[in-house]
């Protein structure tokens, strides 16, 4: 039995490897290599699909690998890609602090490259040929504006907010909060909780929301969540506790659950951050770098408020 199972496994392994090795490369097509630090994140999948689609449309072949939020691994991946003769590179950093050695290495290759999504460290930002990323603080400002608008549209005795964030130390999380605080500064809106990080994990967001409902209950007027995946978890807790319709909901993102709850009228609004546009822009900009065209050093992904009436104007994932 063990031997049979082993033979089956070995055959499966050999078959997979041989089929991988036997893949035909597009004749004459330039090859793009992308190391994605957040390969498995909900935002990563549509972004990477968009990269593939745009690359195919522009006549490039593309390989995307999982950098696993490990700068050392990403460095090794890029070195392997350079050794293998790739023509251009896309770098999605895991965090700012570890980006300088990678930026220096990528520049040393003399190959065309762009950075995507996570903004690199300030010390090397001028060395990046083109950074394609959302203006994270602006997304936060939009969340802040929507919080104020919500209370204008839904006046009450109190303006109590529960605010659930992503990951501690992540520049994205921090910048969103900077934007929110900038808009709310001086207002009478009261954020009830200290920092609550769900680490972009729906399950953690659900547990946090359960705790918040236990602690603050009916005194909560509005729940604000930093992304659509965490919104799903928080919504489950709110639904289980029978609070749907009794408090306002606001989030950021273009997840399908967000679309569904916008159409149901349960979610007040969302803030756009489009992975499809971001992925496509990355390849477009890289194409320009390859062709030696002049490009802006920073290309911001468009953002803004999404209401139920706007859902057809956006792509959802």
């Amino acid at each position: 039995m063990k031997k049979t199972f082993l033979i089956v496994l070995s055959l499966l392994l050999v078959g997979t490897m041989v089929s991988a090795a036997g893949k035909k490369e597009d004749d004459g097509a330039k090859k793009i290599f992308m190391s994605s630090a957040y390969y498995t994140a909900p935002y990563g999948a549509p972004l990477q699909e968009a990269v593939k689609e745009k690359a195919a449309a522009l006549g490039y072949s593309v390989q995307i690998v999982d950098g696993e939020e490990n700068a050392d691994k990403q460095l090794s991946q890029f070195k392997a890609a350079v050794a293998d003769g790739y023509d251009a590179l896309i770098y999605w950093p895991g965090d700012q602090a570890s980006s300088p050695p990678l930026v220096e290495y990528l520049n040393s290759t003399k190959l065309p490259w762009v950075a995507l999504n996570t903004v690199v460290d300030d010390s090397v930002i001028d060395l990046v040929p083109c950074m394609i990323a959302s203006d994270e603080v602006e997304i936060g400002r939009w969340l802040g504006r929507l919080i104020i608008k919500y209370f204008k549209d839904n006046p009450g005795k109190t303006k109590n907010v529960i605010y659930i964030e992503g990951s501690p130390g992540s520049s994205y999380t921090e910048n969103l909060t900077i934007g929110v605080n900038e808009i709310l500064k001086g207002s009478d809106i009261n954020i009830l909780n200290d920092h609550q990080y769900a680490q972009y994990d729906p399950t953690k967001a659900m547990v946090i929301m359960e705790d918040m409902l236990t602690k603050f209950g009916r005194s909560i007027d509005l729940v604000v969540v930093q992304d659509g995946g965490m919104f799903q978890g928080a919504y489950s807790a709110i639904q289980a506790a029978g609070y749907v319709g009794k408090l306002g909901l606001l989030c950021q993102g273009q997840d399908l659950i967000v679309r569904e709850k916008l159409l149901d009228g349960e979610l007040y609004a969302s803030v756009a951050q489009d992975p499809f546009t971001e992925g496509a822009l990355a390849v477009e900009m890289l194409d320009k770098v390859i062709k030696g065209e002049t490009i802006e050093k920073w290309v911001a992904t468009p953002t803004g408020a999404i209401y139920a009436a706007d859902v057809d104007k956006y792509r959802w994932f």
């Binding site: 496994l9 490897m17 999982d66 350079v82 602090a97 050695p101």
Partner: protein
């Protein structure tokens, strides 16, 4: 024909007993002929560099596994060490940073060792707890922010190369030799095999089993700290989540190499093969153009295949 049968059996036995090495050699030959870029000097150096940082911790994890235990907290000690090392490099300089980080890692390991060996709490529970608390401590100290360093000496060390080989593989080689010598040629090393093989028999034979277990955890703490510092040398930054896959990687490399999770056998030389196989595999899959999702599937498949192979070999030996 009659004479060739025992030879054939010998070859099959040899192939099975050294299956991972045979697979590695076969795979390298396959890659050399499939992808010309695989055998370029730059790529070979890349594979060596890639395997070195986690390899340092994997050597010490092997010793812990030989003693019949395992440690989940190595990844958090690694992350903490990148933070402490970077902070100290920015304040007291690299020499102080090295010794403080190493001592701190050893202290965390000793704490695990004390709870497992002396208090007799299962390693899974102890190291799960310390894994969470050490990571939490790193978050608290840094206010969850990643930090980087521009320490000139660290930069110089990072840029130091001997024929394209950086200092990290040299440190890795030193660690391999140290652990190999320790396990094979010292009484204490043999005591660890005995402790892992049969705890009660070892204790009744007069071996200080409590001290043996205490020391293996301390060594792993120090090795994880050293690996964290090497990461700092390469990336020049520290953050709590760095190295979160380290423990699992080390255990995987050790098992693939052929050291039994049950303890009592194995060796660092086997783990080196396991680490090398993982590095070659990661590198090859990237060169072959395999997507990130498929890479995960293949890596899992290799692990299961090797474990099954080990089970077949053990059954054959028993028969």
């Amino acid at each position: 024909m009659i004479q060739s049968l025992p030879d054939k059996k010998k070859i099959v036995t040899f192939m099975l007993e050294n299956a991972v090495s045979v697979f590695l050699v076969g795979f390298i030959i396959f890659m050399v002929f499939t992808k010309r870029s695989f055998s370029t000097w730059d790529n070979i150096v890349n594979i060596i560099n890639e395997s070195s940082i986690y390899g340092i911790a994997a050597c010490a994890m092997t010793v812990v596994i030989i003693s019949g235990e395992f440690d989940l907290s190595a990844s958090s000690v690694f992350g903490w060490s990148t933070v402490l090392f970077t902070l100290c490099c920015n304040t007291i300089g690299i020499v102080g940073a090295f010794f403080i980080t190493l001592a701190c890692g050893a202290l965390f390991g000793a704490f695990n060792g004390y709870l497992v060996a002396k208090i007799r709490i299962p390693a899974f529970v102890v190291t799960l707890g310390t894994m969470i608390s050490i990571k939490g401590l790193a978050y608290v100290v840094t206010k969850a922010q990643p930090i980087n360093t521009t320490n000139a000496t660290l930069r110089a060390i990072g840029n130091f190369h001997i024929g394209d080989i950086s200092i990290i593989p040299i440190v890795y080689l030193a660690v391999i030799l140290l652990f190999f010598w320790f396990l094979r040629y010292t009484k204490f090393g043999r005591d660890i095999y005995a402790t892992g093989g049969n705890y009660e028999v070892a204790r009744l034979s007069g071996i200080n089993v409590v001290f043996s277990k205490f020391m293996v955890f301390t060594m792993l703490g120090a090795a994880a700290a050293l690996a964290g510092m090497m990461y700092g040398v390469r990336i020049k930054a520290g953050w709590a989540p760095y190295g979160q896959d380290l423990s699992l990687y080390c255990i995987t490399a050790t098992i693939i190499g052929g050291t039994s999770l049950l303890g009592g056998n194995g060796g660092v030389h086997k783990t080196v093969i396991g680490v090398l196989l993982l590095a070659v595999l990661f590198n090859a899959l990237t060169l072959l153009g395999v997507s990130g999702s498929m890479q995960k599937f293949i890596r899992g498949l290799v692990l299961i295949t090797v474990i099954m192979l080990d089970a077949v070999v053990v059954k054959r030996q028993r028969e």
